[in-house]
Symmetry: C2
Subunit: 269 residues, 2 copies
């Protein structure tokens, strides 16, 4: 594993960084293949939107220069970029003049079995809720304790857990977005109050629309899992995984899913 802080190779950061104290920042997890970051413009746009909403002064030039430097050393794998508000004294108050910390880490590609992609995955509806707050919904911020707790609910019997909000609507997976197929319509949860607006989620929605598939963004109550025809999970590393089961419910792979899979780059390619 390699890491860079503000352009310098380092495994250490200043412990007064607000990323540590408050989770005061955002991040992106990106797929690198053949020396390029897949879907870079979309990752950058979400990072900028997250910083705008948190009022973090993200410098575009710094990011681009550091990205180019790192892509000279890294040609494949996973690149994670955290942008925190930077260092400060004690307390929630900011001056507005903080200088963001850009923290890049490089990891090997995860070694998911091909069967997850081809035959689907088994999933579980988590007891741990995802909380609702429109001020944080959609952005990929560093406050991820709910995901950490949800991921502790199983060991190896599932490949992913689904998380609901307080009202019992499916919002997302712990590390992925959720799609359901129902009556030839591709449905994905509304994320205006909770959840992370995934790059791959938007990409899949765009492709589906281009292919003439009807899409819906709306609440999906847990009870509706009994009446959907199939489901799919997406993120920028897995691409799209068919869902084979959600707890006791079993689903066939949808032709929709296979046809969408052909359009996404994944870590396994």
């Amino acid at each position: 594993m390699k890491a860079w802080v503000n352009g310098q190779e380092s495994m250490l950061i200043n412990l007064t960084d607000r990323g540590l104290h408050y989770g005061d920042g955002v991040f992106e997890t990106m797929l690198v293949t053949m020396g390029k970051i897949a879907m870079w413009p979309q990752h950058l746009a979400r990072l900028q939107e997250g910083c705008r909403r948190l009022n973090i002064n993200l410098g575009l030039e710094d990011i681009l220069r550091q990205r180019d430097m790192i892509l000279n050393k890294v040609t494949t794998g996973v690149l994670k970029l955290m942008v925190t508000r930077g260092i400060s004294g004690r307390g929630y108050k900011i001056s507005g003049d903080e200088s963001p910390s850009l923290i890049w880490t490089h990891y090997e590609l995860p070694d998911y079995p091909a069967a997850f992609f081809l035959e689907g995955v088994d999933t579980h509806v988590c007891r741990t809720m995802v909380s609702r707050n429109p001020a944080l919904a959609g952005i990929k911020h560093l406050n991820r304790l709910e995901n950490v707790l949800a991921r502790q609910e199983w060991q190896t019997e599932y490949q992913e857990g689904l998380m609901c909000d307080e009202f019992g609507n499916i919002i997302e997976g712990t590390m992925s977005n959720f799609f359901a197929f129902k009556n030839n319509i591709l449905v994905t949860p509304d994320l205006t109050a909770a959840g992370v607006s995934g790059i791959m989620r938007q990409h899949i929605l765009d492709i589906a629309r281009q292919k003439g598939i009807t899409t819906e963004i709306r609440d999906i109550p847990i009870a509706e899992l009994d009446t959907i025809d199939g489901a799919m999970l997406t993120n920028c590393l897995i691409g799209a995984w068919p869902v084979r089961s959600i707890d006791h419910r079993r689903y066939p792979i949808q032709p929709f899913c296979q046809s969408l899979q052909a359009h996404v780059a994944t870590g396994r390619q």
Copy 2:
């Protein structure tokens, strides 16, 4: 400012620490006077409870040894202790064998004017909500973006902001707990779904009960701010501040508040 990581004086931590990546940890902010940590048993108990709920293996001996070492060097001020799950690879999943990071930072006492304590403070009801999640409610975890956002809603015109949940109930201040006085009853918000269960909040409740004051822990809808007789904010550094105003509403200082103030140690003593 001084800092120690796992007992060694340092200003740096490993950037793979899950405290940075996910806010995967808890913290305490403690008042040090005359070489002692005020209310140490209560801080330790909350820290242990937080670690238990997050499934972090906190070693009591390490904490006590590091505390004693630091109290040999620090006799007054603010001591903040963060306990994170420690370092790990990428992803929410934990092995369960992670070794927690104990990160201590020492700061000067905040220089709040005596008038805040004696004459009360002006406050504001924030637009930024505190989110509801029973899995995280009560503990002082490191996912504090909501507090950071709420604190950006004012500069110097207020001394504190009050935060409500999605249903419009007052939960707490950005850095304090909230008490209302109404019909000779001391009321404080129920924190089973949101908020931090303050050490000073519990101490005030205990003292009030010893003094024969009736206490209630229940929801306080925003609308009720128009019918309360007075209010108070508490934390371990400020002790108890009377609330002089909440936006346009003005309140007299309650004799209750003054009599409770006499029983709490604060940074100004």
